[in-house]
């Protein structure tokens, strides 16, 4: 368009618009945010798909994520290599899923991934303990943690394998009244 500098081609913007819950303007804004995380690394010109990834440490310092106890997991869940390096695509992806418009099902999938600390596609006790400790800043006694994790699994585990599969998780989260309003980042 008539901008001073072309960051994306029209096709790219259209494609992003189709693939995310963002409008053109928001995509450009996101690029701005991404760019300002590491101005020397991220090119302004994205028309030829530069291969550029930002490390986890930079991304979790965004104000949107800084206070989140799961910030590392969020970034890791959205990075293709699992180590938290995010390309711009993945960056957009992350905020698209966490946006207001994303449907519950999609959010549930990524929430599941975020809480799956050991990346085995199951929420086992270990994952739950980590989640809980992050949520409470380890203020609960080990017995309490144990109890809570046991109760959680007992509540949500439908197939009795003592860990939560995605189906269990989805079944549980789909009825949670607060999930949509809390699993949501505005950027």
């Amino acid at each position: 368009m008539g901008n001073k500098q072309t960051i994306f081609t029209d096709e790219q913007l259209d494609a992003y618009q189709d693939c995310t819950f963002f409008t053109r303007k928001e995509i450009l804004r996101l690029h701005g945010r991404y760019h300002e995380l590491a101005p020397h690394l991220v090119p302004m010109d994205y028309t030829n798909d530069p291969d550029c990834k930002l490390p986890l440490a930079l991304i979790v310092n965004m104000p949107e994520l800084k206070e989140n106890p799961f910030r590392n997991r969020i970034v890791e869940a959205f990075s293709e290599d699992g180590a938290g390096n995010l390309s711009f695509n993945e960056f957009v992806d992350m905020f698209s899923v966490l946006s207001e418009m994303a449907p519950r099902e999609l959010k549930a999938i990524y929430a599941f991934k975020i809480y799956d600390f050991n990346v085995d596609n199951y929420l086992c006790k270990e994952d739950l303990e980590k989640t809980l400790n992050k949520l409470t800043k380890e203020e609960l006694t080990p017995e309490e943690v144990e109890l809570v994790c046991e109760k959680t699994i007992e509540e949500a585990d439908l197939d009795g394998d003592n860990k939560l599969s995605f189906t269990d998780f989805e079944n549980m989260i789909s009825r949670a009244p607060d999930f949509l309003s809390t699993f949501h980042i505005r950027i």
């Binding site: 390096n85 207001e100 085995d120 949520l135 203020e139 439908l158 980042i185």
Partner: protein
Amino acid sequence: KRANRRPAAKRGGAKGRGRGADEDEDDEDEEEDEAPRGRRKKKPTKKRRDASDDEDDSEDETPKKKRGGAANKKKGGKAQDSDEEDSDVGKGKKRKKGGGKKGGKEEEDSKGKKGGAKGKDKGKDKDDDKDMKKKKKKKKDESSSDSSSHSDDEEEESLSEGEMARLKEEVEEKKKLIANIRNKPWRMKRRLMHLKEAQTFVDKFEGALGKGKGRKWYAYKVMMTKVLMGLPYGSVPRKTVPRAEQPTAQDYSVLMDFQTLCFPKLTQSVHLLDVFNLPGYCKYSVMFYGYYNDQRTIGLLKFRLPLSYLMVGIGTFGYSLMVVIRTMAKNADVGGGDGDEGEFTFSWKMFTSWDYLIGNAETADNKYASITTSFKESIVDEQENQKDENIHLRRFLRVLANFLIICSLGGSGYLIYFVVKRSQEFATRDDLSWYEKNEVEIIMSLLGLLCPPLFETIAELEDYHPRIALKWQLGRIFALFLGNLYTFLFALFDEVNTKLEQEQAIKNSSIWAMKEYYANYSRLVNDSEATPPPMDPADVIRGPCWETAVGIEFVKLTVSDIQVTYLTILIGDFARAVIVRFLNYCWCWDLEAGFPSYGEFDISGNVLGLVFNQGMIWMGAFYAPGLVGINVLRLLSSMYYQCWAVMATNVPHERVFKASKSNNFYMGLLLLILFLSLLPVVYTIMTLPPSFDCGPFSGKAKMFDVIMETIDLDLPAFMGTIFSYAANPGLIIPAVLLMVLAIYYLNSVSEAYQNSNMELKKKMQMARDEEKNRRNNTDSTNQVMKDLEDLLPNRSLIPLAPPPEPGQLNPAQLCTLSSPTKTKPGSAGKGVNLEKDVALASTNPNTRGPVSRPPGPRGPGSMAGPGGGQGRGRGRGPPLR
């Protein structure tokens, strides 16, 4: 998606009509069924019409056929479009179009012309046709769209129809993919790739088949939804309330609403320090009843002050009642909404309690604390369930505790009664100390200060679950406050009655004084004809004006309450915190952890204080309108003051229990106190005669006479008759009866709903159990699981290697389909065919067969049995099963 299809279908229909097709097509709802027929009718040979109609009907009996027809219809419509757009259409093309339009026709053609090769299973035939000739057709399509010089014989034409249909399906499918691609749990790269693929496909073939209007329409739709749903950033304020404010936030908002709405104009500054010296200047200020006079109309607009005074006084109650009850109903609604609460207590706490919007460190800290508390709460709940103890001892202790509390309640009641009596005695004397003047207020405030901790100590005996204990505690404090308030009120009534007697005497004396004044005047002037100048109002002997006296009592009570609250916070919390904090350096034991420690935020006391305060406003506002203003100031300042105190000097309650859970409990208290404060006010309005010389109702026998007066003087005569009829007992009694009946009816209806609710809950529980069992037995092939696996990080990528193609077809993947429990981290590839079935998009209402069918080449095996065809038609479930 549907919206996407709609225009296409419509276009088809419109075209059909334009060509003089049957009127049947006008009905858009029936379009899907009718359209094929309509198209068939377009066939040049009119003779065949009836026959084809019959055939159509017979075909309709087999759902498979119908679907095919419907699908073809759409395609047909598009084909028409594309054909028309090519302006240089030749005859051959028209023929082709005619064929392409009709789905059922194709079968006829193939049956008739190819000669029974297909036998009875027409649907399968169709598939067969398509599959076999697909390649060829595609080519042909392209060529046909490219150039119009094209001649095909009958057979080829029919083939091209099938192919067209096929292509249409694919295009539709791709479009669907494009529409829903954002809902797929894929990596962005894969999404972009698929999008590109799909778009090129659609562009390529839609160009051949029709205009890409669908896409534009879709883009428009997306834009609209974004406009409608996606508010711009920052326009919605952060909604997380700091924890310390949560218990009070709701009450504040409700309480503040009343005040700001009821008397917004009356806020005015009051010299708080003077108030203790009432009667002073304030006594005659706008704050009190006595300020307003009985002028019937004021100004050009004839503002009727007495009438509005009464209306506002009564309207406040009406509005308050409405708000409280509506809030309660709303809360009850919310409570009923997630009826299966308790099923997932811990899970929900674990996975949905963190608010991802939090971006502020302090808020985050509060959230951590609140989450910890809520977990502790649930843990205590859980442990409570498992506990089992000596029930006799506990019962004894509880009875004892209640006995003690009743004793202290009675004691405090008597104390107040005693003090009030004494103050009436004092009222006749002049040589009073400051303490004696304000004894009642001081005693009441002290009781309010000392009793709650006492109750709390006693409640330790009972050993209730904290939340229940909290309710008991609240109930007791409430009883205390209420008892105090009512004792106070009764004493006040005594006073009012004496004032009324006094008034009678003063009235006589003031009339006498007036006569004297005139007599003196005429005697002094020696001219009996001269009109004496009106007496200076300051010299008139005044009645006691009991309404103002009542108002003053309430204002005094409020002011002393404010002082006590603020001082308590300053001394009890702040000074304590300072001492604990700084003396801790040089003390023999640990002050912070040991005895004094820091104060805790007293939720119950504060909430009840608010409720009680609101009750005083309701009660007092009629006699002291300025009370509202004082309270607005008080609540505003105390909110910030208390917020500061809580953040700076208090520690979180050891066992804080969310007050918001028992919202309706507080609302119930509020309603109760509203009712109780409404009683005395309405009683005085209806029965006591207003003061003869002060206030807007002076001179009237009863306050509500203003209404009668207005009806008589200001409204047309017939209104008066109407009102007199309306006030007739003969009308009122039936009305009351009707209301009772309505209540009874609604009550029984709600009971019925409750029953059915229970029934449904039971059913849900059963369904859940069933589901559990089912899941135990079948390892379901879940497409979402596959996607999840697919999203596992690819460790091989860490050294920034080029990522593997996520979309490539991996035959091995097909085998793992039936055993999703086997996780293969890093298996990025997945069959293109499989992806189509991820029905993630909630916006995808399209369950019809043709679209959900994978576009890839389908082996002949898939059409082996009729069952396969059916399943595919429903569009659910993996096609390979």
